[in-house]
């Protein structure tokens, strides 16, 4: 598939016993982005990350990473860094030994970078991993993943257990690495309110399927909140793609997909742009609605024009 994608999948599905954790997943995530993977618990976020990391095998469909590599292949493994949920490193080992272990397990390894990173945060290398704070443990996991100098870094809810300050520090280190190395990042998160500042590409999973996928700027610019008379709401909803429809007796709020222009509405309607947080929450509340072209929801670069 396209060489400039970090995750490319079509009809991808993963079944655990009888239930599908991920189904009919079509994505073409471009390289060089910070991608946020959002969705309720059980939406398939961890499954998708696990598949991309090569930790599990798909039940159906195709999946390639880093422009055509097979997940789990030696080539892919060497170029992908993974920070697992509740990154469980050996609690009894001092940080220094974890770094040494990383050096032995990886072909490409920048131990000096990891030490500089941890020194800068005042994390003692002789402290046992299990005795570090949650924020420090997360930083050690990140330092180990970045020392590989990966081209793609996958993180499964890296912020979940962290306090606000630790979250800020974690994202600062992660995004600085993006600025310096230009690596691609895909991370899952529930901290929807913090996404607007950190990610530039968004994937929303709902019920095991891709609900939204696209550049943040396109998504934010491509929606409008229309506020106007309820009497005219039906007519509006009939001709515009409505994401979320909230009506009171007199006044209604309709979140519509406009594809980057103002919606063609009468003067009685006020239209406003919405922030990423409101957009994401609206889609999460309406799992049946998707912001994808085509019946199966594939978003490929060639089809992007169809979005508008």
């Amino acid at each position: 598939m396209a060489a400039d994608t970090v995750i490319d999948c079509g009809g991808l599905g993963k079944r655990y016993r009888r239930s599908w954790a991920l189904r009919d997943c079509n994505l073409a995530v471009p390289a060089g982005r910070v991608v946020a993977l959002v969705g309720p618990n059980g939406a398939g976020k961890s499954t998708l990350l696990g598949l991309a990391a090569g930790l599990t095998l798909p039940s159906e469909g195709m999946l390639s990473v880093l422009g055509g590599q097979l997940p789990g292949s030696p080539e892919a493994l060497g170029r992908i860094g993974v920070v697992a949920q509740n990154a469980s490193l050996y609690p009894g080992l001092p940080v220094r030994d974890l770094l040494r272990m990383g050096g032995h397990l990886n072909r490409r390894w920048d131990g000096a970078r990891a030490r500089t990173h941890l020194d800068g945060l005042g994390i003692p290398l002789d402290r046992k991993y299990g005795r570090l704070s949650g924020g420090q443990q997360a930083q050690v996991s990140l330092a180990l993943a970045l020392a590989k100098r990966p081209e793609l870094l996958l993180l499964d809810e890296p912020l979940a257990a962290l306090d606000p300050l630790a979250r800020h520090d974690f994202m600062a280190v992660l995004l600085t690495a993006v600025a310096e190395d230009g690596l691609s990042v895909v991370f899952s998160s529930h901290a929807v309110n913090e996404l607007e500042q950190t990610c530039d590409y968004l994937v929303v999973l709902g019920g095991g399927r891709v609900q939204v996928a696209g550049e943040v700027d396109d998504l934010v610019g491509g929606h409008r909140m229309l506020t106007g008379p309820t009497a005219e709401a039906d007519e509006l909803a009939a001709r515009l793609p409505v994401v979320r429809d909230r009506r009171a007796g007199v006044q209604s709020h309709l979140l519509v997909r406009t594809g980057g222009v103002d919606a063609p509405v009468s003067g009685g309607w006020r239209q406003q742009r919405v922030g990423l947080e409101e957009l994401v929450l609206s889609y999460l509340r309406e799992p049946a609605v998707s912001a994808l072209p085509g019946p199966r929801g594939a978003v490929r670069t060639s089809e992007k024009a169809m979005l508008s």
């Binding site: 600062a172 995004l175 993006v178 600025a179 309110n193 607007e196 500042q197 009685g268 922030g275």
Partner: protein, 145 residues
């Protein structure tokens, strides 16, 4: 990349973010540079903070900083020099001389007094102002919504 320190002096300003403002992040950075220019904190030739420094300090996407700097270049306020950083070029177009600014402020105060006399509280004034500003921005001034 831009790893050498010390060779040139640090930027005179540092960015901050107000997540509650509702203003897109890149625009907040643009506005802070404009503000710093208006206040004289930044002058021609000054270096803006390096992308890496901004990202490390604010934990924001590097592309957001690049977008802000591109916008500043587009507005003619800054110029990027390969490998060196982004530098201040000129004053923003929307800057008016202090005397004129004071006169505009007096006019606004007059309006506020008449609004208060008409029974509008501070929240009401802000609502009217923001509403009118939006119409002005969207070219709908004069049209009753």
């Amino acid at each position: 990349m831009e790893l050498d320190k010390g060779a040139d002096q640090p930027s005179p300003i540092e960015f901050r973010l107000d997540p509650a403002s509702g203003v897109p992040t890149y625009l907040q950075l643009v506005q802070q540079v404009e503000q710093a220019l208006r206040m004289g904190w930044l002058t021609e030739g000054d270096r803006l903070p390096r992308v890496r420094e901004v990202v490390a300090g604010l934990a924001i996407n590097p592309n957001t900083v690049l977008k802000a700097y591109r916008e500043l270049e587009h507005r003619g306020l800054a110029v990027g020099r390969r490998g060196q950083g982004t530098f201040v070029r000129g004053l923003p177009a929307g800057v008016v001389p202090l005397r004129e600014r004071a006169a505009l402020r007096r006019g606004l105060l007059d309006w506020m007094r008449s609004a208060r006399n008409a029974g509008l509280d501070e929240g009401g004034m802000v609502a009217v102002f923001e509403d009118a500003l939006r119409d002005l921005r969207e070219g709908r001034d004069g049209v009753v919504a």
